[in-house]
Symmetry: C2
Subunit: 396 residues, 2 copies
């Protein structure tokens, strides 16, 4: 009995000025003292942090600031957050930022109610059984972490680093505040990288084994087309509210399970796993790492089912060719053109990396856990497959 | 500050045999004694009820059967359910059926934890502040009540009856079990009526005032197209699993808020309100009542914004005309053709009603609460508008 599950309980408040409601939402969720977790200076410079704190003060909420979240958020920072939350006797975590602040906040939320080491949840030693309450004010459309069950942390206490995810429904935030205006100042590079991540959350779900549902596929394709179109709009005019709004909704819906509705396996996820290994070693932007790998993954796995790629290419780009194989190749190239139009790399060289054969072997060994781990669902990947994909990506 | 809210916390389990998980889901949700609420004999005849009870027994859950839910579910039955739940010291309600059983179960769930009269929540005298936990096993794709905040009850203690809704996020079920196979035996008429209701939940959201978001519109149109196509498939072959699956997902997504994402008003809802008055007086199938009114509503309101109808017609049916007004008329006709292809009426005569001028005046007076209530959002409707719409529908 292969069942599919869909669970997206996060309460979303959307629109201009939505962040002004955060004090009210925190109160409704029982908060009295809030750990506000954020990244670098942009939320300070933009005065967003000040507005958030004003909203908390108006509802008589105490708070502690905890900045410093970085892309590929670090375990060492998570540990600091856990200590501070406990020391200050907080009872709620508010992440203000993008996926890095949210993922780091999720790890803190698991850690503060756990007697053991929070890394247990990422190493696979244990699963979260409870969590501190978490809310989000989103400033970057990308990871979908504001509605997803996922949190990805980089263990900087290990050499080389490990970058791994913990998936638990407990990690889905209580609320998410989505104001597209908060993403007007996102740079072109981060916009392109974020949009690539959004598309990949749907593409990784689109390629799966077993039964398929056309209605779910159509929702996936509607989302992919919207991200494509609205990313180009946002790159041209960063203050295009409707384009930023589309990217924000698409980011949340792309990773809340909607585009896997009915699909019991949940998708393939090989590219995400391979990218995590790549950025653990080379600290690249997640979306850029994904686009640098995807085409090489696609060329390696496509003979599993050319027709799946051909169907996608027809729906997305109107591609018609004599054979599914030819249509498949055109579809892969068309997606690479989309990523290029976002300013993203479609190979490791374009990402600024030049790997030696030894580097590739090390990366493949890390990805396959020395040959012990198989990845994927559309096609299962062993160590040699991973090596072939990295080799191909390195050639581009 | 016009904000939009999206909240769909129901845990969905989807697939063949999903109902076998209901004992486990009830346990996970803290149930010990369950009121099983259902409609007529079909869940008994199909052995679904027996399978559900077996699943409960396997998890050592006690239960009490409470059947009798009918289309346009009655307040008198709700009161019986409240008494039985209390007498039997239940702590969970499981609705097994379509919208009637679910809406009736929601009313019971509000009533058992309220000291006053449950009708207070429907008459507008009070709002629910708590609710007993509720789960659903769905057997009809139609009302979307399995994920919605809505419950509609007919007060059969009044003459004429009142049919009104209570909207509260507390009414969203804890879990919903969706097995498309459970809808194989739904009759052609109920399939067509259910699909009309699903389309209307998205159409009523599509027509709204204020800011619009193309990505949300595209999700709406993807849903409408899928329901159109898959209803025809299911009518041709009632055991077409993929078609039944598409209708089931579309039913849930059409009324969980997805197709109003970003829209602060939440939609127009005039046709639903007018249909509630119609079926309070004449006890018609909800979907059939909606299709019998929609075209007349559309013709009455369309000069508010022809371009909105033209856009819908272009996306749905590829309609191109010289002017938006011409495209609008073609779009309304095309939707009426869709409803006809579902076996649904597009006027009151086709619904089997012939109303006298006095009947229409009575219906309009009831709809406008003797001229005290204004309906709608795309266009505000007063008493004279409602009378004009019913008159037009009665002409067809």
């Amino acid at each position: 009995m292969a069942l599919s599950r869909y669970f997206a309980p996060t309460y979303v408040v959307f629109g201009r000025g939505a962040e002004e409601e955060c004090g009210t939402l925190l109160r409704e969720n029982g908060a009295t003292k809030v750990l506000i977790h954020f990244g670098g200076g942009s939320v300070v410079r933009s005065s967003l942090l000040a507005r958030v704190e004003k909203s908390l003060e108006e509802r008589n909420l105490s708070f502690v600031e905890f900045g410093g979240a970085k892309p590929n958020p670090r375990l060492s920072l998570v540990r600091e957050g856990i200590e501070l939350y406990k020391k200050e006797k907080c009872d709620f975590i508010l992440a203000v930022g993008g996926g890095s602040a949210i993922d780091s906040a999720k790890a803190i939320a698991y850690g503060v109610v756990y007697d053991g080491d929070v890394w247990d949840f990422y190493s696979g030693k244990s699963s979260p059984e409870k969590v501190a309450p978490l809310g989000v004010i989103l400033t970057l459309s990308a990871t979908g972490s504001e509605m997803s069950n996922s949190s990805v942390i980089t263990n900087d206490e290990k050499t080389p680093n490990d970058k791994v995810g913990c998936n638990s429904d407990l990690g889905r935030p209580r609320f998410a505040i989505l104001n597209p205006e908060l993403t007007f100042s996102v740079s072109a590079y981060q916009t392109g990288s974020g949009s690539t991540d959004i598309m990949m959350h749907t593409l990784e779900r689109f390629f799966h084994s077993g039964e398929r549902f056309e209605y779910t596929d159509e929702n996936a394709i509607t989302l992919l087309k919207s991200v494509w179109k609205n990313t180009l709009r946002a790159l041209k005019n960063p203050e295009d509210y409707e384009a930023r709004a589309a990217l924000m909704w698409a980011g949340s819906l792309s990773h809340n399970g909607l585009t896997a509705a009915g699909n019991p396996t949940g998708g393939d996820w090989s590219c995400h796993r391979l990218e995590h290994e790549l950025s653990a070693l080379y600290d690249v932007a997640h979306g850029a790492g994904l686009s640098a790998i995807w085409g090489s993954w696609a060329r390696h796995v496509c003979d599993t089912d050319y027709s799946r790629f051909a169907y996608l290419g027809w729906k997305m780009f109107g591609i018609h060719e004599k054979t599914d194989k030819e249509a498949c190749i055109k579809t892969i190239e068309a997606f690479e053109d989309v990523f290029r139009s976002f300013g993203m790399p479609v190979g490791l060289h374009e990402l600024g990396l030049e790997l030696s054969p030894a580097d590739i072997e090390a990366l493949a060994l890390k990805s396959s856990w020395n040959g012990q781990r198989v990845l994927g669902d559309f096609m299962k990947l062993g160590h040699e497959d991973m090596k072939a994909i990295f080799t191909e990506a390195n050639r581009r």
